[in-house]
Symmetry: C2
Subunit: 245 residues, 2 copies
């Protein structure tokens, strides 16, 4: 009764073809449907603390969540940025080793852990899809490691914007030419935690990119990229493979 839209059937789900359930047959989907329930979080709310027991795994239907780790003295590093269709939780593990936080309003499609694990063991399509998604995340983590380890502050900002633009493009319509509008759910501090910088450095580098005409700002959280290729040139990446045409 809480949200009619969200409580709808898997067939109508906006992430049906991208989430962990993407390859399910109707029969498998029916089994998933039996163990699923929706959950909402407000921006800023913690979904789970590191070490907490989590009774479910979940797909992000809507909004942005983060995984992050903290050192003794409070330094924190974001280690996962979860957008719609991304998967939360690890089968076979009761507790999350990371803090999981909603940084915008978030809706999750949760699956009770035990039945989900049984499903994994019995239906190949879920397990296959989860493997693929995990390997994609591993690739993303490795790209992220290059950013953290070897890029300058300016390159880090350009890389983050490019990554988000790329992901938004995959979801909606892909356009190489013409201005791209990026809606950052992230605060400057969250960007700093993503990139291993301070929020002041993030702010300075965004200003610098703006002054160089590579990006424009519309309010605090919206970035307009007139020419994505100019932005990509700022990432420092080897441009061999890529979406250039």
């Amino acid at each position: 009764m809480s949200q009619t839209a969200a409580e709808s059937e898997c067939g109508d789900c906006p992430i049906r073809h991208r989430a962990v359930c993407a390859r399910c047959e109707p029969v498998e989907l029916e089994r998933l449907e039996q163990i699923k329930y929706y959950r909402n979080y407000e921006a800023g709310q913690t979904i789970a603390w590191a070490g907490d027991e989590m009774g479910f795994v979940a797909s992000v239907i809507r909004g942005v969540a983060t995984l992050s780790q903290t050192l003794q003295d409070g330094r924190t590093q974001m280690v996962g940025l979860l957008l719609s269709s991304d998967f939360i939780g690890r089968p076979g593990r009761m507790t999350s080793p990371y803090d999981v936080t909603a940084i915008s309003d978030v809706t999750l499609c949760c699956f009770r852990r035990k039945p989900f694990e049984q499903l994994l063991a019995t239906t190949p399509h879920v397990a296959e899809r989860l493997l693929d998604m995990s390997l994609d995340e591993l690739d993303a983590a490795r790209e992220w490691m290059l950013i953290l380890g070897r890029k300058t502050a300016r390159e880090k900002i350009a890389s983050l914007l490019t990554i988000i633009a790329r992901r938004e493009a995959t979801t909606g319509l892909m356009r190489i030419k013409g201005p791209i509008v990026i809606d950052l759910a992230l605060t400057r501090e969250a960007m700093a935690d993503y990139l291993g910088l301070t929020l002041e450095t993030v702010s300075r580098q965004i200003s610098a990119l703006k002054n160089d005409g590579i990006i424009q700002l519309d309010g605090k959280r919206r970035v307009i990229v007139p020419d994505i290729r100019r932005l990509m040139l700022e990432t420092g990446d080897d441009m061999d493979g890529g979406l250039i045409s």
Copy 2:
């Protein structure tokens, strides 16, 4: 005919119970056995360049290999450190996005790609194990991201030594108390590429840890840790969960 020891059966394999084949039934093992072959690389040899086509996936039987990425101007970041039993390659992808390099003498157990993928699709135990290993690697990558993004040079060195000590301990016998001997296969430069530092900074910080009595050196590549807990205190990590007793 080339190496009698290496050409032996899976039953005698030193990584039998830890590699991608760990959970295989005898029947499955037999199928694997049909598509496997061994390959050797010398220290320093490249196993694959980024973008190269790789006709196989493989398990590391012996030695140490690395995955690394390079920026336009030559800056490089290591993104994977592959020890014995680790898996190389991604099912469903023809080319490696990373440079794969043997940094010591390496023996691989290779599986021809196509038959391996068929095996994946038909035998659940290989796919299950691969999912688990991938998720472990993802966790490792995230720990690594924290190191790269937020730790000081000294903390980075201490973390690397702790990680290698931990992995060697898993292989052999685990000992919490008493001196631990770490055989680094890595040069200072490789450590720098791992940690996002320069080799000079690595050298300086190792010297500093030595001068503080936290480690001792035996030659260039062998480190003796008299008290692992003192080293772990230098990592900056939150020590809540861990192998303390």
